[in-house]
Amino acid sequence: MKKSFGIMLALLFSFSVILSACGGSNNGNSGSNNGAAGTNDGTTGQNNESASNGDGEKVTLSFWTLFSGGDGDNMQAMIDSFNKEHPNIQVKNTKLEWGEYYTKLITAVGNGNGPDVGISHISRLPDLINQGVVSELDDVATEAGVDWSTFNQNILEASIVDAAHYAVPIDTHPFIMYYNKKLLKEAGLLDEAGKPIMEQSSDGFITFLTTLKEKLPPKVMPFAMSNTNDDPFRLWWALYSQLGGNDVVSDDLNSAQIDTDKAVQAAQYIQDLYHKYKVIKLNDPDFYKNFQSGTAAIMMTGVWATGTWESTKDLEFGAMPIPKVFDQEATWGDSHTVVLPVTKKEDPAKRKAAITFANWLADNGQVWAKAGHIPSKPSVFEKQEFKDLPYRSDYVSVASTVKFSKASTKNWQIRDLAMFKYLNEVWANKLTPTDGITKMTDEVQKVLNE
């Protein structure tokens, strides 16, 4: 009895520690939120005046986001300026933890307590639609005068499910390549313009990496890359797509349909980088840090790292699309979109205000691009404010070559539960690429069957 009481206490204690830990970071957030809320209140005050001057009815929108860090600050800044520009629409931002965002969104909408506006990854959209969490927005978009042709069509198409618009994309965040200029120069692989000297082919990229290995001191790794899960998977997806591989599920989304030869070829290529050419540090627990501290010549990850590298002192880096290793340019990417969750009582005024807000976010992507993301509207690239941001223009072209997943409701499950599992073993050299892809195919099918 005493012991179980002790366990109870320990549990309670650990819970409270976890909670307070989360609370801690939340407090950090809400600290900035409060600051922002302060300015919000200020503007609300003015708005009330202007509203009473007869500017029409005021709409307040609750907006749930999953952004933290730089993303969170940029989003808050955008919301603040939107609120200032639109006296009749006030957006209130609720920042949720990334890890629990979707679960909370789904359950809240299920209970009828969801927000007016939300964020969804484009790859998660089909699942949310299928569960009845987000609503179709063709009518309201027309009413609010959203011009779909102003969006990057590659991103936009990925947000269309069953021929209907369900989301307003605000960015794409693809997988790109970063390089350390100092180290490349030391190895004689940097041209006058500060770009890597590399032939864009499967041999060319390997020659580039092995040259780096020869020319640089042994403690410098040519290529900083994780050994498990997301980033090597993204590289595999990119190379598989460069070979013309067509997703991993069939068009009717019911069965696993991996282009085995291409999938194996891509996996073999990456496995060789780890084990044959040894240009990647095996099981590196800190590959971000290694690039950041200048002990790795190149690294690949999502564009969100740009903001981090920029704020790192003494890191002279460049950003570019990942090399065209195989037949066609392609890379992995996802996209943040604004969605209108299903509400108990549909309020046309709110919906219209929400879509206006979403479109405004896309129009003002130059702020959002500060974290590294590529804005969803090409018109933003022309803005001086965007051009003044370094690096981004070096990789905006990637927006059109991102290979999005098909609109499967099980995208995240397939990735997290089936693909990571076997690809990780291929990178660890415990499965041959052929075995890995074969087993992966079975597992994808299993996830689809469940």
Binding site: K3, V17, I18, T107, N229, N283, D284, Q413, L417
Partner: protein, 295 residues
């Protein structure tokens, strides 16, 4: 007289009411709801359709489920004896040296006050290659050549060792405290008598201390088995259940099924299966203990 008793009862009930309401709302009701869920196809949003025993039937053919039950069992088998033996050894050390007792008590117990998240991340940092404490130490004492690394968390067997060591370090303090207080309850006269009869240290331990500790040992064993079966967080942080799901415990599978696969019905069915397993184990142990006492 009767009236008075009734009044006392009513008063007692009123005082208990707040607790009962909370207990019912957050413990009893979810348990009932869980049983209901296990008979349905039930997503995060709503119940979809009645499937009867379908979820349970599926479970019997689900290799992933049995594999994860086995993984949790492996963990129980590795950790439970160590948890008890190590706790006794630590308690003996602390009990013997009465001057440093306070010091030992805090040193051995302090890790247990860490939250599971903190302990797990410490484990991750200790066992990771290149910069981890263990590999660095091994390099330092030249047991491991400078150019090679042990990948503790990427090999199934090594991962079990790493997870078990972390858990042992983190939670053994509780058992230690229980043993220590039990040892202090043994009257000094017993030891004195034994000494007068010329008993050696080891005889004193095997013939006196250990038998007198047996009630607390039984309790600790049972609670330890149940606690170890519920392992999840430290594995999730340190290996994510990998490689190839070979360290994935049943709780992780239940969580994945419920919140990643959005299948609360099947997750509830698995939870109840785990509940039944634990119930049977506790029952078995209770029965065995009672039988011995009758003998």
């Amino acid at each position: 007289m009767k009236m008075k008793k009734l009044r006392v009862d009513v008063q007692a009930f009123l005082f208990l009411l707040p607790f009962l309401v909370v207990y019912f709302l957050f413990t009893i009701w979810p348990m009932i709801k869980g049983v209901e869920m296990s008979f349905y196809k039930w997503t995060l949003i709503k119940k979809m359709k009645y499937v009867g025993l379908g979820n349970y039937e599926r479970m019997f053919h689900d290799q992933d489920f049995w594999a994860s039950i086995w993984h949790s069992t492996i963990f129980v088998i590795i950790t439970t004896p160590l948890m008890i033996i190590l706790a006794i050894i630590l308690a003996l050390i602390a009990n013997r040296n009465s001057k440093l007792q306070r010091f030992y008590r805090s040193v051995f117990f302090i890790p247990s006050i860490l939250s599971v998240a903190v302990a797990s991340f410490l484990g991750l940092f200790v066992f990771q290659p290149y910069t981890g404490l263990i590999n660095s130490l091994l390099h330092w004492v030249k047991l491991l050549p400078e150019s090679s690394e042990i990948f503790w968390l990427s090999e199934t067997n090594l991962a079990w060792i790493a997870i078990s060591l972390l858990t042992l370090w983190w939670t053994v303090g509780f058992n230690f405290i229980l043993y220590l207080s039990a040892m202090q309850d043994v009257p000094d006269e017993v030891y004195e008598a034994a000494r007068l009869d010329g008993a050696s240290d080891s005889q004193v331990f095997w013939k006196i201390t250990l038998p007198l500790l047996s009630p607390i040992t039984k309790t600790i064993t049972m609670l330890q088995i149940i606690a170890s079966f519920k392992v999840f967080m430290q594995i999730y942080v340190m290996t994510g259940g990998g490689p190839l799901d070979e360290t994935r415990p049943v709780i992780q599978l239940i969580w994945q099924t419920g919140f990643r696969k959005n299948d609360l019905g099947y997750a509830s069915a698995m939870s109840y299966m785990l509940f039944v397993i634990l119930l049977v184990l506790s029952g078995l142990q209770y029965w065995m203990n009672n039988r011995k006492e009758v003998d």
